[in-house]
Every structure is written in structure tokens, then in C-alpha cells.
């Protein structure tokens, strides 16, 4: 029975080695909200900053595409439609300083 224990221990060591190599450099998703959820929240903040929080009609936003942490958002208010590239890693909104981590881009299509 001693050798059975040795066999099990060696196989477990092999499995642990393979698992460790596979996982050590792999990106583990954060437990926090998904990138998409963060992008939606940031786009809503942009919309609110353009028209205030009380716009009920003609105000909407749409996330068009993403590349890494940068998301392209089209924000529409009754008087204009604008496109922004939002970097969800650096985006911040404060009533005092306004928006940061965002860049206005041309709307295509």
C-alpha cells in the first residue's frame, strides 16, 4: 500500500506542475464588473455630462466597438450626436473637473 501512496503523490505532483505552468501567466479575469459593464457606466456618465441627468427624450448612447480598454461610444442628445473614445482604465468624471480619460473622435458611418 505504500507504493500506491507514492504513485498517487507523484501523479498529483505531475498534475500540479502542468496546472501551474498553464495558469501562471494566464490572465485571470477580475472579480469586479465586466469591461462592458464599466464601459456602459462610463458612457452613461458622458451622456449625463452632456445633457444633465434629467434628459428623458432624445438622449441615448451606443457602444460601437472596443479595442483593449478603449471603447468607442456614440452619444446622442436632442441637439447633437457625438462620438467618443473612452479609456475605461483612466476614465473619470467629476462635477468639478469634468471628464478625463476620454477623447472626442469623428463619427464614421
Amino acid at each position: 500500500m505504500k507504493w500506491l501512496g507514492v504513485t498517487v503523490a507523484l501523479l498529483a505532483a505531475s498534475a500540479m506542475l502542468v496546472t501551474w505552468i498553464f495558469l501562471r501567466d494566464r490572465h485571470v479575469p477580475d472579480w469586479g464588473p465586466s469591461r462592458s459593464a464599466v464601459a456602459h457606466e462610463d458612457a452613461r456618465a458622458v451622456l449625463a455630462s452632456l445633457e444633465g441627468y434629467h434628459c428623458h427624450t432624445g438622449c441615448n448612447y451606443r457602444l460601437l466597438s472596443s479595442s483593449g480598454s478603449r471603447w468607442l461610444a456614440r452619444v446622442s442628445v436632442p441637439w447633437a450626436t457625438r462620438c467618443f473614445e473612452i479609456d475605461i482604465k483612466t476614465f473619470e468624471y467629476s462635477p468639478k473637473d469634468g471628464l478625463s480619460g476620454i477623447e472626442r473622435v469623428r463619427c464614421s458611418g
Binding site: 505504500k2 507504493w3 507514492v6 507523484l10 505531475s14 506542475l17 501551474w20 505552468i21 494566464r26 480598454s69
Partner: protein, 161 residues
């Protein structure tokens, strides 16, 4: 449950345990499996240990040649793909090919390379010849995050393999 049936079920359990003990009592068999398991572990260690992964996180300032590795000159010999998160300016992976895949595009070739206990995906230039599994392989290129979460070297230059 009556005392008689409790005694019977206890005896049955003891008899089952004894049968299992007898079935597992094969010292020569377990000796052989332990030797095989030791061989498997040694083979894994020998396969995963050789090689190296060197990373240059940021692009060195132009003109600063001192201390730069020779392979670094290949780091700018190509177009970095923009659809992946860039992890480092450049990396050199030296290791053993453990697997290769083609696709999703027809000419696309990916390798899984293990070296220095690191697993790195290498994307070869479209249409490149695929090294056979087990062969030693060295490539240089930007380090990005692959779609599956592993680290990926976009091979601008294959130095061996």
C-alpha cells in the same frame, strides 16, 4: 433496525473493506506504477525546464545601445497587431513546441511553446511552416494577450525552429 440486522450490516461492511484491502494489496503492481509516475514527472520536468523567456517591457530610447540584447533589433521588424492588449514591447521565447494549431484564418499558425516553466503562444507569420511537436523553437516579437488569456509572442523573427 434490530440488533441482529445491525450486526449483519456491520459484518457486510467489514467484509467489503477486507475485499477492497485484498484487491489493493499488490506491492509489485504499485511499485511499477510508482516507477511509471516518477518517469512521467521527470519527463514533464525535462520538457518544461529548458529554455527561457526574456521580456523587454518598454521600448528603449533611440541610441541607447548599451546593455541591449542582440535579438532586440528584431522587435521593430513588423507591424504589431492592434486587436490585442499589448503586454510588453518585445519578448524572446526559447522553448519546446508542445502543440500547433492552424486557423481561424487559413494561413494562420499558432504554436504552444513551453520553456523555463512558462507556456507562451507564438503566432507565426501567415503561411509559415509549422515546427513539429517536441522541437526546440526560438522566436522574437511583441508580447500581447492572446484571445484565450495566455501570453502571445507575435513572431517577427524565428531564430530557431
Amino acid at each position: 433496525m434490530t440488533p441482529v440486522s445491525r450486526t449483519r450490516s456491520g459484518a457486510a461492511a467489514r467484509s467489503t473493506a477486507a475485499r477492497v484491502r485484498v484487491a489493493l494489496d499488490r506491492p509489485r503492481l504499485w511499485g511499477a506504477t510508482a516507477a511509471l509516475a516518477a518517469l512521467v514527472l521527470c519527463a514533464l520536468l525535462l520538457a518544461a525546464a529548458p529554455g527561457s523567456l526574456q521580456i523587454i517591457v518598454h521600448k528603449p530610447p533611440t541610441g541607447a545601445l548599451a546593455g541591449r540584447p542582440g535579438w532586440e533589433r528584431w522587435c521593430s521588424h513588423g507591424e504589431v497587431r492592434l486587436d490585442r492588449e499589448r503586454l510588453a514591447y518585445c519578448a524572446r521565447i526559447d522553448g519546446r513546441v508542445v502543440d500547433s494549431t492552424h486557423g481561424p484564418a487559413r494561413a494562420e499558425v499558432h504554436l504552444a511553446v513551453v520553456g523555463d516553466f512558462h507556456l507562451v503562444i507564438v503566432r507565426l507569420a501567415d503561411g509559415s511552416a509549422t515546427p513539429s511537436p517536441g522541437s526546440r523553437f526560438t522566436a522574437v516579437g511583441p508580447l500581447v494577450r492572446a484571445r484565450d488569456g495566455q501570453r502571445e509572442v507575435q513572431a517577427f523573427k524565428v531564430l530557431r525552429g
